[in-house]
Amino acid sequence: MVEDLHKSFGSQRVLNGISLTVRRGETLAVLGRSGTGKSVLLRLVIGLEKPDSGSVRIYGQDIAGLALDRLGEIRKKMGFLFQHAALYDSLTVEQNVAFPLQHHKKEMSRSEQGNRVKELLAEVGMGGHLEKMPSDISGGMQKRVGLARALALEPEILLLDEPTAGLDPISAAEVDDLVLKLQEEHHMASIVVTHDLHSVKTIANRLALLNEGNVAIEGSFEELQKSDIEFVREFLRHP
């Protein structure tokens, strides 16, 4: 839950008192024009940025005031897919996905970790690319590997920053199906930042449309379609 969140970078005010809530098993899609602070919102939620004011509450705890170790414990329950995947370029695809397991699942044996990695990569359709380096695969494939890495610790909260951007329609539909499947199986709370209205219709229970650092409207896709707000109508008219 984020409440009255403000964030500025220098003189540029990005978020201006945003309040949103996501419950378990729910997928919230955050929409908005480029540069309206959607990615910043996700970074604030996972604690990579600190808010100027307001609070980010996860399991009732305000993460802004938490020590790094305690924040780490909460982060273990969160999976984050970066906009450009942010794969470790010196590690292979397999090692990238194994990274969180090696650090936080030390009770698992090497072979168990290996099997889990293969399972995750197969789930995102990257089972045949274990030994490849991130530079050897396409942007869409990198994104799928990033998604597998985000799912490695079986998170309860999933943050996806433009998961289908740069993917072909078939791969984008596959990622959407995967997110839906995970939501059904694990009842994760997900926040998806996207511009892809087609994807939003498939995966999101609720939508929040940002405009000038604030939530212009929040509701289901149908509710947004019925809105009289000029910005909302214009946004939906240009998918």
């Binding site: 996972i46 982060r75 984050f80 450009h84 942010a86 794969l87 470790y88 650090h103």
Partner: protein, 310 residues
């Protein structure tokens, strides 16, 4: 005038900010480095920084040994102190040249490498991804690299020293008959471990400086890959810091750089001897001593005197 005052104020503020940030960074790394330790990454970095720097340092050490040997031979022969040549080479390589060459080469190779690697990770959000995976990036990336620099720098120093001495002997052996045994026994006559351990292990301090500044500059990088400013800082800062630290340390020990008064003392003695033996006027002899070679000769004599005292 106003503009110039404003720009110098900005420079001073930026400089102080840099030091403040470095202090905060160091404290955060120390806090992060306690436990649990990232041994796998540490061993990787030990290999990367230590063993892979050895060939380059050895090459630089060998080249320095040859140059030093040939230059010193010319000067010492001229002043009739050729027998001091092995000692002069051994002491100057082990005390100063070896450690400083190692520091400069490692800061150029490994320091810039660390800085560039971390900067690239920063701008491509890989460091954020590490943090988002609930792994402390300072513990994983900075602490391991800094510790690896501290632990490994003495190793290439030894390799650089060995190559410098060996090539110093080779250069001598090519000019005149001198066996390796003679060279070593004459060069290390009366020397103890205490003469060699501090200069070798002071490179651990160079390692701390190189690792700390390289990691700091890399992690604080902003913007894109062009990043001329951070890259320039990254390359130059450890080099400058190593050079300055060496200067400070050198001035503390009379073995390393001769105090000015001592140099003058030996110059005066030499001038007196030349004027009495060769009939050269004292002022002319003093002028000759004031030359570069004269100073160097005085330094070698001083070193040999200090050496005999031990």
């Amino acid at each position: 005038m106003y503009r110039s005052a404003k720009s110098s104020k900005g420079f001073i503020t930026e400089f102080l900010e840099w030091f403040g940030d470095l202090g905060i960074f160091s404290w955060q790394v120390v806090r992060a480095a306690v436990t649990p330790y990232e041994f796998r990454e540490l061993f990787l970095q030990l290999d990367e920084l230590g063993s892979k720097s050895v060939p380059l340092v050895a090459l630089a050490g060998a080249a320095t040994g040859v140059v030093l040997s040939l230059e010193a031979r010319y000067s010492l022969t001229r002043f009739g102190a050729k027998s001091l040549l092995p000692a002069a080479i051994a002491f100057s390589v082990i005390h100063e040249t070896g450690p400083i060459i190692t520091g400069l080469v490692v800061s150029g190779r490994a320091g810039a490498g660390i800085g560039a690697e971390l900067a690239s990770m920063k701008v491509t959000e890989q460091i954020d991804a590490i943090e988002a995976s609930a792994v402390h990036p300072y513990r994983l990336l900075a602490a391991t690299r800094i510790l690896a620099c501290i632990l490994m720098l003495p190793l290439p120093t030894l390799a650089g020293d060995a190559c410098g001495l060996f090539m110093g002997w080779v250069a001598q052996a090519m000019v005149g008959p001198l066996s390796l045994h003679q060279f070593i026994s004459s060069g290390f006559k009366g020397a103890s471990f205490n003469d060699f351990l501090p200069p070798t292990f002071k490179t651990a301090v160079f390692g701390l400086i190189i690792g700390l500044i390289a990691c700091f500059q890399g992690i604080r990088t902003q913007g894109g890959a062009a990043g001329g400013r951070p890259c320039g800082h990254k390359l130059s800062s450890p080099v400058v810091a190593v050079r300055d630290s060496r200067r400070r340390r050198a001035s503390e020990t009379h073995h390393s750089i001769l105090p000015l008064s001592a140099t003058r003392n030996w110059q005066n003695r030499y001038a007196h001897n030349r004027s009495s033996c060769d009939g050269v006027t004292p002022s002319r002899a003093r002028r000759q001593c004031a030359s570069r070679r004269g100073r160097r000769f005085a330094q070698v004599l001083w070193k040999s005197k200090g050496f005999e005292r031990h």
